[in-house]
Symmetry: C2
Subunit: 191 residues, 2 copies
């Protein structure tokens, strides 16, 4: 046995392997034995770090939230202009979706897999989507638009829905081709 017990290398290894597999294959089509085999750890180590498959799922979603928002911000913050930033949300989708084999949104997917998700999972989903809408709202508020309260809310809602709709369409059609049309629509909406 030549294992290095660095702070939490095994914990990280499990989480990263499971995150990849849960996202790629779906939660229910991924068994813990596969996670264990691919992470190259012992079953006892798995249960040393995570008390159940479901706890691992929670950790997966928490990690996913951080990772995904990091990717999103990274792309958006390449632009300086508020309008550019808003449009880059859709540029981000083009890049991210194509790079993730059109697997779509982890939070949407888990919602489909858990019809009555227990409260923990549902809270993570809502937290993620709240954060996304807040981010869109922030970008919209940075615009120089004569948007009265109501108008701004409509716009934020619409952009959010276009965003989610785009994720779904790409996931099903396995293409990002139409996103330039969507970006153009959003461009018109904000001008």
């Amino acid at each position: 046995m030549k294992t290095q017990h660095s702070a939490s290398s095994t914990h990280t290894k499990i989480l990263e392997t499971a995150s990849r597999l849960f996202y790629e294959q779906g939660y229910h089509l991924t068994g813990i034995n596969q996670v264990i085999a691919e992470a190259g750890i012992a079953k006892a180590s798995f249960y040393y770090h995570f008390s159940s498959k479901e706890d691992l799922c929670i950790a997966y979603l928490e990690k996913r939230h951080q990772d995904w928002f990091g990717w999103l911000r990274e792309e958006v913050e390449r632009s300086e202009e508020p309008q550019e930033r808003l449009l880059s949300l859709f540029t981000f989708l083009e890049l991210w979706l194509a790079n993730s084999d059109f697997r779509g949104c982890a939070f949407l997917n888990i919602t489909a897999e858990f019809p009555s998700p227990e409260n923990r999972i549902r809270l993570l989903v809502l937290n993620h989507k709240d954060a996304l809408q807040a981010y869109i709202a922030q970008l919209v508020d940075s615009l120089d638009i004569p948007a009265s309260g109501n108008n701004s809310a409509y716009l934020i809602n619409a952009i959010y829905l276009l965003f989610e709709g785009t994720i779904c369409k790409c996931q099903m059609y396995r293409t990002t081709e139409f996103i330039k049309n969507t970006r153009e629509t959003v461009s018109q909406l904000i001008s």
Copy 2:
């Protein structure tokens, strides 16, 4: 045994039970033994009518497509004016989503559950979504809009995405409250 072998009553019973359970619980969380128990049939009957669980899934999606489009058309065709009809797509979502416990779109859900859906399932999903977009296109084309070819395609794409985005948001947030905002946005888009 006092069972009536009407044309396909057992086949229908299986399909309806499975359809309900697959939609409510998800495909992978529904085992065939539950379908059998709730349909009140014998296992041999199940396999007499469907050669596998997957074949049942195909039948489920085919039935779902017919049913769902029936519901959609029924609501839309209550309006006469083209504009009214387009907006009633979102009225339909309000009614349907609230009445289906916010369980969302069966086709989206199955896409999440089958990351690499085998071809048959994927074809059914795409067929359903193609039909939906064609329907939206038909409604848009009935409008009296000076829409050049490109403009019309943008509009159809946007409305479709708002539609899908709405389904997702309602599924996650378990509310239809925001749909009136969305309907207003669509109203502005088409005028």
